[in-house]
């Protein structure tokens, strides 16, 4: 039985393989049931739930300060942005004004996270397509970013720094200098990435024209983020619904019309440059002042429903809180980008080869714990 309750029928001559839950290129415990005809894919069916930790249910018994920490474990590559979304939702309920300094630092950390996430994705894409070397090159720059994040908030992977009302602590005195150094490094290495992978004939052959996603399909499946922008769907939350002062910085929404894996690849590569552009605008202009607004010790949201969306590295993350006036959410729902993006996989991969399926998954940049939550 599949998710929709339809029986799974295997016709004669069909070759069914289970990719995952333990597989080198699902990057986690995703289970894809693939119907094959020779090497050609007839149908893909994702099976979920292997890493379901009931984060939404858990959040109902945690206070408004504490539930934010759990969300770092959803999309663990962009933990800062998850935290930001939750903090923004709570702030919306409290109607607290976040100090300008906190806003700018939040933006900087979010963009650093996005940059680090895209670097990881670039390395993994190379790895999934059989080129091992890009992984090491990407990690060289990602390490530098992680070092900055570690110095700022103490953690390298599941960071917790954004709290309702601002940020937890003030930034480290070295922060500005180190970020500038990292930007110089990443900027110079982006050209190297293009030489190593983007321009490679084999790589282009593997991704061009593979896994086409039409704009209509992207919208109907709810695909967001770079995957949708590569199909020409303008959906950047940072532009459409600016939060934390994204309306005050200059950046371009990266769009492509190719719709194939190569377009998704190029959108992410160009987004890295936009992130660098945003960071460079802000790094010298961090205003002085408070880093956290005054909030009560025990936060209680007024009765009502609150929704906030942010743009993570993979797409639109929505946080929906229903409050009954108590100190913890009555009900909470996350709209995770990876779940919707995964739904389009079957559409994109049908008719492709097994190798293409891996390439499509790589360019969708799926993070499995975010799908199951």
């Amino acid at each position: 039985m599949n998710l929709l309750g339809e029986p799974e029928v295997t016709e004669e001559g069909e070759f069914v393989i289970n990719i995952g839950p333990q597989h080198p290129s699902t990057h986690g415990v995703l289970h894809l049931k693939v119907w094959l005809d020779g090497e050609t894919i007839k149908k893909v069916q994702p099976h979920l739930g292997y890493i379901h930790r009931s984060i939404e249910k858990m959040s109902e018994s945690l206070s408004y300060r504490n539930f934010i920490y759990v969300t770092s474990r959803m999309d663990y590559i962009s933990a800062h942005i998850n935290n930001q979304a939750c903090a923004l939702t709570v702030e919306k309920g409290l109607q607290v004004e976040v100090p300008a300094r906190a806003q700018v630092i939040r933006l900087l950390l979010a963009e650093l996270t996005r940059l680090g996430s895209h670097l990881l994705w670039w390395g993994c894409t190379g790895l999934d397509l059989g080129a091992v070397t890009p992984f090491f090159y990407a990690f060289r720059e990602r390490e530098a970013i992680l070092d900055v994040l570690e110095e700022t908030c103490g953690a390298r992977l599941t960071q917790n720094f954004m709290v309702p009302g601002g940020i937890m602590y003030d930034i480290h005195p070295n922060f500005q200098k180190r970020v500038k150094d990292v930007m110089v490094q990443v900027k110079s290495k982006l050209k190297e990435y293009d030489e190593l992978l983007s321009g490679n004939v084999i790589f282009q052959g593997r991704v061009k024209g593979v896994g086409y996603l039409s704009p209509e399909d992207a919208i109907s499946y709810g695909v967001t983020g770079p995957a949708a922008r590569a199909s020409g769907v303008s959906c950047d939350v940072r532009k459409w619904f600016p939060y934390d002062g994204y309306d005050k910085v200059q950046f371009e929404e990266v769009l492509d019309t190719g719709g194939d894996s190569y377009a998704r690849y190029m959108v992410r590569m160009r987004e890295m440059q936009q992130s660098i552009h945003i960071i460079e605008q802000l790094i010298d202009n961090i205003p002085e002042g408070e880093f956290q607004a005054k909030t009560k010790m025990v936060i209680k949201l007024p009765k009502g429903e609150f929704y906030q969306r942010v743009e993570t590295a993979r797409g639109e993350l929505g946080v929906f809180i229903v409050s009954d006036g108590g100190s913890s959410p009555y009900r909470i729902k996350y709209r995770s980008p990876n779940f919707s993006n995964l739904c389009a996989l079957s559409k994109m991969a049908t008719g492709a080869k097994i190798g293409d399926l891996i390439a499509i998954m790589a360019t969708l940049d799926l993070i499995i714990p975010d799908i199951d939550r």
């Binding site: 393989i17 597989h23 090497e39 090491f136 090159y137 490679n200 084999i202 593997r206 097994i354 190798g355």
Partner: protein, 364 residues
């Protein structure tokens, strides 16, 4: 000028033969004993060579991937591969319960035997050759293609769908690329007029075929490098293993020593392919000579021929290793397109060009 150190294998072998005949009177026993001694020496050499190639691969990978590579076990990490081998020796050899046991155990033996047999006619130095068979080149290409049977056997008997997919891919891949490898070998055979490895090496006394043969031979050299990389299932043509797609392909179910045999076969194949390329295109053990520069030539002669051979072979090994660590993997249809739409037609035209060149005597 005489070479610094020249191992005269033939005179050594003749003396050994004489001594053994003096000790044992039965000539059949002498023959068997000689074959066993040669086999054991070759086996030891090949295992040591694979240790070295494994170490070299890790160091090359480390160099390309801006990391150090092995550097803990032994001097400069050189015993790392020994430690790995010991680990593989002590690992449990798991046999899947529903596999075809006989074929499952036989497959790695076939693969490794095919790889080792192909070493026989290779000339390691002047007069240093295990068996100078008259059909040397043909022998190597035919024996090495037996390996595909072992791979198909491994994939089929494992009772694993990934293994089966990997094996089917290898069937398509190796059989196709054999053609291009064969045609590039033939272009040299046309020029030399002999399939014997020693004849091919001697024909390059006044210059390597890569330099003597003009552009057609350059093309066949490049085609040989590409096609033979595909034939030995190395990245970017490692579709039969394809870790990211098939989790290991035909050897998914193998562990311990049986897995190590596949690994051994891979490195022996790498060596054989590079040695053949070095022999037929780069003059084998022939030193590098430059026209009438007698001083230069005599210095080149001074370098032992075994060093010349190993140097050229390892250079080609180095090139093939760089392929692996820089290129992404091809897709199965692209792989077959490359062979049937590009390499094979080019090789065919190239073979005709070489034939015309040989008839007209346009080469040096």
């Amino acid at each position: 000028m005489k070479p610094l150190l020249e191992i005269s294998f033939s005179s050594f072998a003749a003396q050994f033969d004489k001594w053994l005949n003096g000790v044992v009177s039965n000539s059949f026993i002498v023959l068997v004993a000689e074959l066993v001694v040669t086999g054991v020496c070759l086996l030891a050499f090949l295992v040591l060579l694979c240790f070295f190639l494994g170490y070299m691969e890790r160091k090359v990978a480390g160099f390309i991937e801006i990391r150090l590579g092995p550097n803990r076990v032994g001097p400069k990490g050189s015993f790392q591969i020994v430690a790995d081998t010991v680990k593989l020796l002590f690992k449990e050899g798991i046999t899947p319960s529903s596999s075809d046991k006989f074929l499952f155990h036989l497959a790695p033996v076939i693969v490794v035997t095919a790889a080792m047999l192909a070493v026989a006619p290779i000339a390691f130095a002047s007069h240093f050759q295990v068996y100078d068979i008259s059909i040397g080149v043909l022998y190597v290409s035919s024996v090495s293609s037996v390996a595909v049977i072992g791979i198909l056997m491994a994939g089929w008997s494992s009772y694993n769908k990934y293994s089966l997919l990997g094996a089917m891919r290898s069937g398509a891949q190796i059989v196709s690329y054999e053609l291009s490898v064969g045609l590039s070998l033939i272009s040299i055979v046309i020029l030399t007029g002999s399939l014997r490895i020693s004849d091919i090496v001697m024909s390059q006394e006044n210059g390597w075929w890569l330099f003597k043969g003009h552009i057609p031979i350059l093309i066949s050299f490049v085609i040989f490098l590409i096609a033979s990389t595909a034939e030995i299932n190395r990245a970017p043509f490692d579709l039969t293993e394809a870790e990211q797609e098939l989790t290991g392909g035909y050897h998914t179910e193998y562990s311990g020593m049986k897995f190590a045999m596949f690994l051994l076969a891979e490195y022996i194949n790498l060596f054989v392919v590079s040695a053949i390329a070095a022999t037929i295109f780069l003059g084998g053990w022939m030193p590098f000579h430059l026209g009438h520069w007698h001083a230069f030539n005599s210095i080149m002669d001074w370098i032992p021929s075994s060093l010349w051979f190993m140097g050229k072979t390892l250079f080609i090994v180095f090139i093939i290793m760089q392929f692996r660590w820089t290129f992404p993997r091809l897709r199965i249809d692209q792989l077959l397109n490359l062979e049937w739409k590009y390499l094979l037609p080019i090789s065919m035209v190239n073979t005709i060009l070489v034939t015309v060149m040989a008839i007209m005597g346009w080469h040096f």
